[in-house]
Assembly symmetry: C2
Homo-oligomer: 216 residues x 2
Amino acid sequence: MHKVVINPDIDPLEENRHQAEANRARLREHGAMAVDILGSIGSGKTALVALLGERLRARGKGVVAIVGDVAGDDDCRRLVEAGIPTANVNTGKECHLDAHYVEHALDELDLEGADVVFIENVGNLVCPADFALGAEKRIVVISITEGDDMVRKHPMIFAETDAAVLNKIDLAPFMDASVDRILSDYSKVNPHGRIFVTSARRGDGLDDLTDFILDE
Amino acid sequence: MHKVVINPDIDPLEENRHQAEANRARLREHGAMAVDILGSIGSGKTALVALLGERLRARGKGVVAIVGDVAGDDDCRRLVEAGIPTANVNTGKECHLDAHYVEHALDELDLEGADVVFIENVGNLVCPADFALGAEKRIVVISITEGDDMVRKHPMIFAETDAAVLNKIDLAPFMDASVDRILSDYSKVNPHGRIFVTSARRGDGLDDLTDFILDE
């Protein structure tokens, strides 16, 4: 949904950038860093966050999360069940989180002992890319079940994030989608980005992704 | 991406509604009707349109299409290969089509002999719902591979469309997702809506969906 801004002197993206910087500074004061998880709906973002949380805790890291959805608290409940203290954000008609939503969600979380704050955005490959939230790393998640044209159709979000995850790779044998094509499209739009091929179900690629998150 | 509107006297949704009415009237003059295909990215919208086009042509109907994507012309090329004259719309940073995009796309199409104009929207379960395009029917497509919480997370788009399609049902045996839960959630948010369970690959449900499109 598009916001109607009646004061032309205020640039909402600029305002958002200031708040994102404030979020980042606040987290650093607590010795924590946020990791923004963007991606298409149903790509497995929540399952990945739950499994990454498990691996990070096994390495002695404290993990909390913020999840954004238009409606409902399904993802929040799943993360809480997975042992991750989580703040739920419902955006109503908005198609993405912004830094103000994150500011308020951080108020709800106990940041003492938190090292990593996952911020799971609304499932959408367009709008979330434009809104910085204060994360140190931004990761975009897609699933092989969506076909092999995702990168070509949404070059922007892949160019503007630090890494991509191609998830549900265990379903590749049942799909008519080329993994090579996705990898090749990705290397064109983001030559310096990392891409991880994962299966939340089988655990493929999750240790490498955990390393990437912890890498300074 | 959010538009910044600096003239508060113009309501962009209201303007869009007027243009949508004009599109509808223009199509009716040609004896054609538009069918809006909304849905999540990678849910199989293009494959469904190609197969529905085949079935409609077998029933003597002329079919053309408009496809919207942020970037690229993959879907357009697939529909043209499937024998459907198609106009491609790239929205740049916009997350949905609007009625003006459709107006210009209609200029590119030969509407003589066209009975059905499929309008495949940008893949996204939030923003496209708000923008009428001039269609007589609006159908939202999701895939079983996205999990079984899609309706609960996006009640609005399911409430505001005439029918829903649960696609890729051939992959259900490999997923931990409940079809019953989706059907039950749907009947709550849209008690008068129809839901079709389909497999573009196997052909399940496509004849019923074709009947629905042609039903007055």
